[in-house]
Amino acid sequence: MGASRETGQDQTRVVEPGVTALSVTVHVSDLVLERRTPLWWWVGFGLSLGLLGLFVASLGWLFIRGVGIWGIDWPVAWGFAIGNYVWWVGMASGGTLISALFFLTRSEWRSATSRLAETMTVFCVACAGIMPVIHLGRWWYFYWLFPYPNTMALWPQFRSPLHWDFVAILVYVAGSVLFWYVGLLPDLATLRDRARRRWQRVLYGLLALGWQGSSRHWRQFKILYGLFAALMAPLVCSIHSIVGLDFAGGLTPGWHETQFPPYFVFGAALSGFAVVLMLVIPLRRALDLTGVITLRHVDVLARLMLTTSLLLSYCYLMEVFMPFYRGEEHEITVVMSELGGTYAPWYWAKIILNGVVPQLLWFRPLRLNRPLLFLIALCVVVGMWIERYVIVVGGLHRNHSESSWFVFVPTVWDWATLAGSVGLFLTGFFLALRFIPMVSMFELRELLNKKTTGGGQ
């Protein structure tokens, strides 16, 4: 696979010439089984562990002292935690969209990036799931959200979008993990069969569950995988719509918008594609995968980022237009305070990072410039966090009752929790890089075989 140094600037090929089914299998499994752990991995993993330590420390302090360590207060009771949640779960969508939606459209470019993207999804969802739990003042009662028979004879409020969201996250977590694991089974079996060390045989043997690759297994596998894809595509849309409804269901000015469900789906997709790009651009070099993750993949992801950025920009326009169209005085106050008030720098940062910067992607030379593309994706990821921050705090700090107006100022623990959650994500992702094949080997075998037998592009 190293044979393919960047062959020119061809961005039409899904696979570079010279890559064969066997070479992919050997290369990808050797990355896990044989290759000495490279220095960059140790450095990255060490830094991630450091951040994870910060996360543990900030959660520990939170559990001791309570949510007062954050900058939140009435009426801004949703601060970083909810913003972080929406941000993480939004980025998670990237993996699901690539592996489920583009599986259904039978897009060839999906195969090489799906594993990376799905792995990203699993760890993003883990970070997302923690946030709403820790933002509960008494987080140890979070199980009250489950409808279970209890001596208090209480039930959760099923009519509340917040409870819909709880159910949606739960199902999405289960779905993402199952989809990822089922898609891994054949590759885990390949690792089991190629492993030379005993611990590897035992580990991958257990994880592969005894997968044989028999026609019986493949038959069921194809059905289940197609089914999961068909289910995950609407699920990812549903979860972001419901996240939107968390806000739209409240009367808070700036939140009470019918456009929120699609608005959140677009935002999620934008940040999802951006984070996949941020992982793909360095990793295709670091893992020597340029033969199977080609410039075409990079180009497609960049175009998707541009498309979703345009969709989101439309929502940004509507967000400002609607209050004036409705002519409701207080909503206009809130919009004006967003455009020129305390949080105006954040507001304009979100417009520039998510709406303006991605417009560079109209130009092909810029799309092919990987360092620049990485920076654009980084801008979007940061911009999307800012967007959630502006939504959460911007509406709450100017609520209907003027006497309770309040300016939220994040504390050091707010920032530590945010940075620490990045550590949780990166630690998980680095471990996955080391122990899990980062390209779906069996899908590429099928793809490459179709190509060599003249199955066409």
Binding site: A21, V171, T190, H217, Q220, I223, S238
Partner: protein, 183 residues
């Protein structure tokens, strides 16, 4: 070669290995025409046509999943109905207790959850997984099936010696290799 280990399972038959999926399909076609049954194909990815040639159709999984989805939806709705109408009715401005539009998202999510779990569990059951050891793993060259070779398992037929017949049907040559597996 003997493939008797720990579990006491044993296999008798031959494993034909092919480098190329089309060669494997050709051979499979010939074997089927000659009347071989109970064949099994092991391949590094799902090869189309194999199911047709083996005459197998997956019927159970889709049905199980549809049933699970329906049960999940009905059960999910009833759970909410029970909680909001029977268990803990809240009269808020006389609004109807059975506010089904507000129950629809959770109903959908719980149906999805039922499909996910039932789908995965019935997939495992239908594939007989987890099954960490199977005698087929001991046949020489079997590990290639998860990498780059296409295998046909031809079980020995009761009271027949197919050696000659198989040598004619599957000439040992380019990319074809037959291992006899007595046990």
């Amino acid at each position: 070669m003997s493939v008797q280990r720990g579990t006491g399972h044993s296999l008798r038959g031959r494993l034909a290995a092919f480098d190329d999926p089309d060669a494997m399909l050709d051979a499979l076609r010939r074997l089927r025409q000659t009347g071989f049954s109970r064949l099994e194909v092991y391949s590094p990815y799902a090869v189309e046509e194999v199911d047709e040639l083996l005459g197998r159709k997956p019927r159970a999984l889709p049905l199980i999943v549809v049933a699970a989805g329906a049960l999940g939806a009905v059960g999910g709705f009833l759970l909410q109905y029970w909680g909001m109408v029977l268990g803990y009715p809240l009269n808020i401005g006389g609004r109807p207790l059975n506010s089904w539009p507000a129950f629809s998202t959770t109903t959908f999510e719980l149906a999805a959850l039922a499909i996910l779990l039932a789908g995965f569990l019935s997939f495992c059951a239908l594939c007989r997984l987890p099954r960490l050891y199977d005698p087929i793993f001991d046949t020489p060259g079997f590990e290639q099936a998860s990498q780059d070779r296409f295998l046909i398992w031809i079980p020995e037929r009761e009271g027949r010696d197919d050696g000659e017949l198989l040598r004619r049907l599957l000439p040992d040559g380019e990319g074809v290799h037959i291992d006899e597996v007595p046990a």
